[in-house]
């Protein structure tokens, strides 16, 4: 299930500083609860990838790539 449109993913990618906006968006979509939103904000991007993999929003190989390549890879995957 796509968590966002490709247009939304592109919009995030173009942002200068996107962590908070992405987390807010995922919270609004019900992917993250308030507790997880806060945990990821405090600990960093890799915790977001870990969580998405754990909840099966992304596959193991995608998580591996997302850790290497960052948001530019992850966000289009979430839009598929």
């Amino acid at each position: 299930m796509a968590l966002m449109t490709q247009a939304q993913a592109k919009k995030f990618i173009a942002m200068d500083d996107k962590m908070l906006d992405v987390l807010d968006y995922l919270k609004e979509k019900g992917v993250l609860d308030a507790r997880m939103h806060r945990k990821i904000l405090l600990e960093g991007y890799s915790k977001l990838v870990e969580y998405l993999e754990q909840k099966k929003y992304i596959k193991a190989n995608e998580a591996k790539e997302a850790i290497k390549k960052g948001f530019d890879y992850l966000l289009p995957v979430l839009a598929e």
Partner: protein, 654 residues
């Protein structure tokens, strides 16, 4: 109890009362130690309206649960007070061995209050604590007094916290030393200690730190020490000390030439770590349990300062009384000036800052030899700098005016508003020797937001920006991509500053050195949590660890807010916002750059959940952090901050 000693030592120098206060589990879990313990005491026990030199003010010395263990660099100690320089929250931390020794003596924190009738020092010999006469030590340089106390107590192995003559004379940027050369340089802690007639605190501890899981601890420490063997930042710091940054700073245009009029100079290599190690380095020194050993010991061999020796210099200790005042041709002049600020016990950054400001006032015609008492404050005039440093420490003549810091000096001299353009301060404290137009925009943001004033590289420590490029993938792991590793960009900087401020605050609670945890990334947050749990036997999580840092940042911020310092004061000196960086060398990378602070500020407030109009933490945020009492303190002040009367007030210090 594992890790912590479990008690605070409180010494009242007015009454002579010495008490030992237990630290509860809840308290230790909430603040961890060091900076956390100290910030809590200042917030709760030092009213924002109190003069920092009032006897009722406190000065705190804090260590952490891993202090004195085999984890990397666990000898640090944070010194905290209400700053006499800024009037706001102030702290500074230092390396050496005193922190570990205090732990072995059985204390997590020392709080000193009151004022002795005559100069004294405190002698902590495990359980036995005495207040002893120090009249014979008053006026002595730290290197002299340190030896005298050791002889007096008949023990060469004690470790001593100390102030120099500048602290005794309540210079507003006097610093605190331990092991003679290790300085807690910033915010004027030495002046507060001097105001209490306290010269030193000598410690001897014969105890140990109880480790809950020794085998796990050894595994973690061995793994981390292996990691240091190939760490790229460790290599540079060991070989050349923090002076390894000189040539980098010059290339990237953050070398503070003439009070930041420029960011690079063709002769910068004269004072580089490479040159220093080939010419005047006598030996290297390390702090307690340090795998890096960035400390230098210098012996000047030639010229008019031949024969002088001292511990140091550091990058931040030498550039302010070197290039920032226009001295670059003869590096021995720079080493000599660093030696002077050490011996007199003054923050090298603030000393260079106030002298360079006075030089720019002189250049621009705001002051003349009439105000300076005949001193010709021309750029690069070493003869004048050599005279002025002792004059500041002794509060003599024009030195007495400069001893109050650049902002108060402008007031005392009756200078017009436009003269303050050159003071290069935020919240009353000068910036370190790093131009954010080159060092990085993240640093620029952190200079504006520092909870101890215009600083600094030891506060927010945007090392994901400074050294992040050396650690492939690290920026991505934390921030989501590598763009933040470039200094001159706003990309990811608000989140970077938010993340690193939290991380640094908790690192300061553990009281381990930032060079082993941020500059070099051989130790990451999960490693810190791992050894914290091995030592204490508790179950801290990474989330909890970072949240404690966030709690501390918010508490310190609220102290400023209570003084009516908020969003209007969240800025950096205008020079960095208005003047495009000029070209100093042909290979400089940041020509024409200005700092786009406002683009980053609004996003930073969102990460913090602070009101962008006031810059005050939201009530929601404070309650989330267990700071309900702080929320109550701030509630009546939010509207006051926005009132027309407050808006009209220009605050340069508090």
């Amino acid at each position: 109890m594992y890790g912590w000693a479990g008690q605070r030592l409180r010494v009242d120098l007015t009454t002579g009362q010495i008490t030992k206060e237990p630290l509860s589990y809840e308290y230790r879990r909430k603040w961890i130690g060091g900076r956390g313990f100290n910030s809590d005491i200042i917030y709760n026990e030092v009213p924002v309206t109190l003069d920092p030199y009032d006897p009722r003010a406190r000065v705190c010395f804090g260590v952490g649960p891993v202090s004195g263990t085999a984890a990397p660099s666990t000898g640090r100690v944070t010194v905290t007070c209400k700053s006499p320089l800024t009037g706001g929250f102030g702290d500074s931390n230092m390396g050496g061995h005193w922190g570990a020794e205090l732990k072995y003596a059985g204390y997590d924190q020392v709080v000193v209050q009151g004022r002795a009738k005559h100069p004294v020092y405190i002698w902590i010999d495990d359980d036995k604590v005495e207040i002893r006469d120090a009249r014979h030590l008053w006026g002595k340089f730290p290197r002299e007094a340190d030896q005298m106390i050791k002889e007096e107590l008949g023990d060469e192995d004690i470790h001593i916290v100390m102030i120099g003559p500048a602290g005794e004379n309540m210079v507003r940027f006097a610093c605190t030393f331990n092991d003679v050369w290790r300085a807690a340089g910033r915010t004027g802690t030495g002046g507060v200690i001097g105001s209490k007639n306290l010269k030193a605190i000598a410690v001897r501890g014969s105890g140990t730190v109880k480790i809950a899981n020794p085998q796990k601890m050894m595994e973690v420490c061995n793994r981390l020490r292996q990691a240091f063997k190939t760490d790229p930042m460790k290599m540079g710091l060991y070989e050349f000390g923090s002076l390894c940054l000189i040539n980098v700073a010059n290339r990237d245009g953050w070398f503070p030439w003439r009070n930041f009029q420029g960011g690079a100079h063709p002769l910068a290599n004269n004072m580089s770590g490479e040159t220093h190690s080939q010419t005047v380095l006598k030996h290297r020194e390390g702090c307690f349990a340090c795998p890096i050993c960035c400390g230098r010991f210098t012996h000047i061999k030639e010229g008019k300062w031949a024969g002088e020796e001292f511990g140091g210099p550091e990058y931040e200790h030498s550039v302010p009384t070197g290039p920032r005042v226009g001295i670059i041709e003869d590096a021995n002049d720079i080493w000599h000036n660093a030696r002077l600020t050490n011996d007199y016990g003054m923050d090298g950054i603030e000393t260079g800052g106030v002298i360079s400001t006075a030089m720019e006032w002189y250049e621009k015609g705001f002051i003349t030899t009439k105000e300076t008492g005949g001193l010709e404050l021309e750029w690069g005039n070493e003869e004048v700098v050599d005279k002025l440093i002792p004059m500041i420490a002794k509060r003599e003549g024009f030195g007495d005016i400069l001893a109050d810091g650049a902002e108060r000096a402008a007031t005392r001299l009756g200078l017009p508003e436009e003269a303050r353009y050159y003071t290069i301060t935020t919240r009353g404290m000068t910036l370190p020797g790093d131009d954010p137009r080159g060092l990085g925009f993240g640093y620029g943001l952190s200079f504006a937001m520092g909870t101890r004033g215009g600083c600094d590289h030891l506060r927010s420590l945007c090392c994901l920006e400074l050294s992040g490029a050396l650690y492939t993938g690290l920026n991505t792991k934390i921030l989501g991509d590598e763009r933040g590793a470039k200094p001159v960009t706003t990309a990811n900087k608000p989140y970077m500053v938010y993340y690193e401020e939290n991380q640094k605050a908790t690192t300061d609670c553990l009281q381990v050195c930032c060079f082993t945890t941020h500059w070099s990334y051989a130790v990451l947050t999960p490693d810190q949590v791992e050894y914290l749990n091995a030592v204490t036997g508790l179950d801290f999580t990474e989330e909890e660890f970072q949240e404690i840092g966030e709690r501390i940042v918010n508490l310190e911020r609220a102290y400023w807010n209570r003084m009516m310092s908020g969003a209007r004061e969240d800025t950096v000196p205008e020079r960095f916002l208005k003047e495009p960086m000029p070209q100093g060398v042909d290979y400089q990378t940041n020509v024409g750059v200005v700092l786009p602070l406002n683009e980053m500020l609004q996003k930073y407030y969102k990460y913090r959940d602070w009101d962008p109009k006031t810059g005050f933490p939201s009530e929601r945020k404070l309650k989330q952090l267990g700071l309900d009492y702080v929320a109550r303190d701030l509630a009546p002040l939010r509207n006051k901050y926005l009132s027309e009367a407050e808006k009209k007030k220009r605050k340069y210090y508090y």
